[in-house]
Amino acid sequence: MVQPLNNRLTESASQTAGPYVHIGCMPTHAGNAGAYEEEIGTSPIEDGCAGEIITIKGEVFDGTGWALRDAMMESWQPDAAGKFPGQEGADPKVSGFCRFAADGTTGEFTLRTVKPGPVPMRGGGMQAPHISVWVVARGINTGLQTRIYFEDEDNSNDPLLKRIEQRPRVDTLIAKKEADGVYRFNIVLQGKDETVFLDL
């Protein structure tokens, strides 16, 4: 016999966000403008924040190559200096959090934000600039975590990217530059070119 391991709980089970997640999280996108006086996560930045303003466009593809029309995403990131909101010296004009959705007709999403700075790791080392992304939709039973890195940054010493054994798969986490301040980042849920999804 051993002592009982008291006060330990199991995380509640995830369930799919379903096709109507926008009702609760992005009412205007669901056709319900005015449900709340102010929706949350409409932009991760305010005018006048420090750093380069960028636009990331992309689509979320299923295993057949079809772009989801119902996916919702959330992003979380630090400011241009690598500081998260609430940390000392963080840019007060960066909330760091955004909600955005695949267009109901075309499937394309757009995230307008500030390019993040590198972030230190616990115990030393730096992570290359990246934006954390969480994807939910009908048919996704547990929200999928991934990251957006940038092809015009030095990603060679990023501790997470270094752990990807199959080097061509690193590319699935790197936004491609299309023009000044414009990047493309597609998310592939399954199959060839499947995005690296994270568990951390």
């Binding site: 509640s12 966000a17 109507y20 926008h22 449900a35 760091g96």
Partner: protein
């Protein structure tokens, strides 16, 4: 500041057996939306340990009252009046205070107010179907709403969703982010639902079923259901602090 990344260690790795698998052919849409490759596991970093905070400034008084919020208090929604309440805790049993809880649901007839819902149960002009609130300092939250209706959905030949309320919970770390669903005690459709049964551990599914809570129901007004939610925890040891604190 007991919950800043400097004072707390990494997130407890997620126990994937407590959650549905990505691929579950009984829930047909998951077949092409489930990754084939294994997830990349690593100790959490500041990107997962920090997270957005939401203040009371954005939350209005009626935001957690779905009976009245769509009409701004003018006219109540149709349906059986219920109180849904509970606590948000972490895996160590600690309350998660001041965190955003959002819900959305169908109306009493099983119809969602969404541009893409075409079920022929009518919309209720007095019901929007979404609510939000912050937990208090002890992790408590509550919503006043109506019991949502069951409804059919295109999956196998004749699948119906049990009565349910969608829950979205933030916690204090982006890595704690969770969306789930609350079911109602005694609903026979739970055991027939392929989405509910993506959760293979019966205890974990039972934990998504809210019991009737007569003690919290208000005579001549509403019934109550209690629904507690558990988020991932973060380790907190003096060894972890020493690593960081120097």
């Amino acid at each position: 500041m007991t919950d800043s990344p400097r004072d707390l260690g990494p997130l407890v790795p997620r126990n994937r057996d407590a959650h549905p698998a990505a691929y579950d052919p009984g829930y047909k849409t998951s077949v092409v939306r489930s990754p084939n490759q294994a997830l990349l596991s690593m100790e959490s970093t500041p990107s997962e340990e920090t997270g957005p905070r939401f203040g009371h400034n954005k939350i209005q008084a009626l935001d957690n009252n779905l009976i009245l919020n769509w009409t701004k208090g003018e006219s109540p929604a149709v349906g059986e009046r219920i109180l849904v309440h509970g606590r948000v805790l972490d895996e160590f049993g600690r309350p998660v205070p001041h965190t955003l809880v959002e819900i959305w649901q169908a109306n009493a007839g099983g119809r969602y107010r969404h541009v893409k819902d075409t079920y022929f149960a009518p919309l209720d002009p007095n019901f929007g179907g979404c609510g939000r609130t912050l937990t208090d300092e002890n992790g408590y939250y509550e919503f006043l709403t109506i019991r949502p209706g069951a409804y059919p959905w295109p999956n196998r030949g004749n699948d119906w969703r049990p009565m349910h309320i969608h829950f979205s919970i933030f916690g204090h770390s982006f890595g704690q982010r969770l969306i789930s669903q609350m079911y109602f005690q005694g609903d026979p459709l739970i055991d027939l639902c392929p989405i509910a049964h993506t959760v293979k551990d019966r205890g974990q599914l039972d934990a998504l079923v809210a019991p009737l809570d007569m003690a919290m129901s208000r005579p001549m007004d509403f019934l109550a259901y209690k629904f507690d939610i558990v988020l991932r925890g973060r380790r907190q040891t003096m060894f972890e602090n020493k690593l960081e604190g120097m």
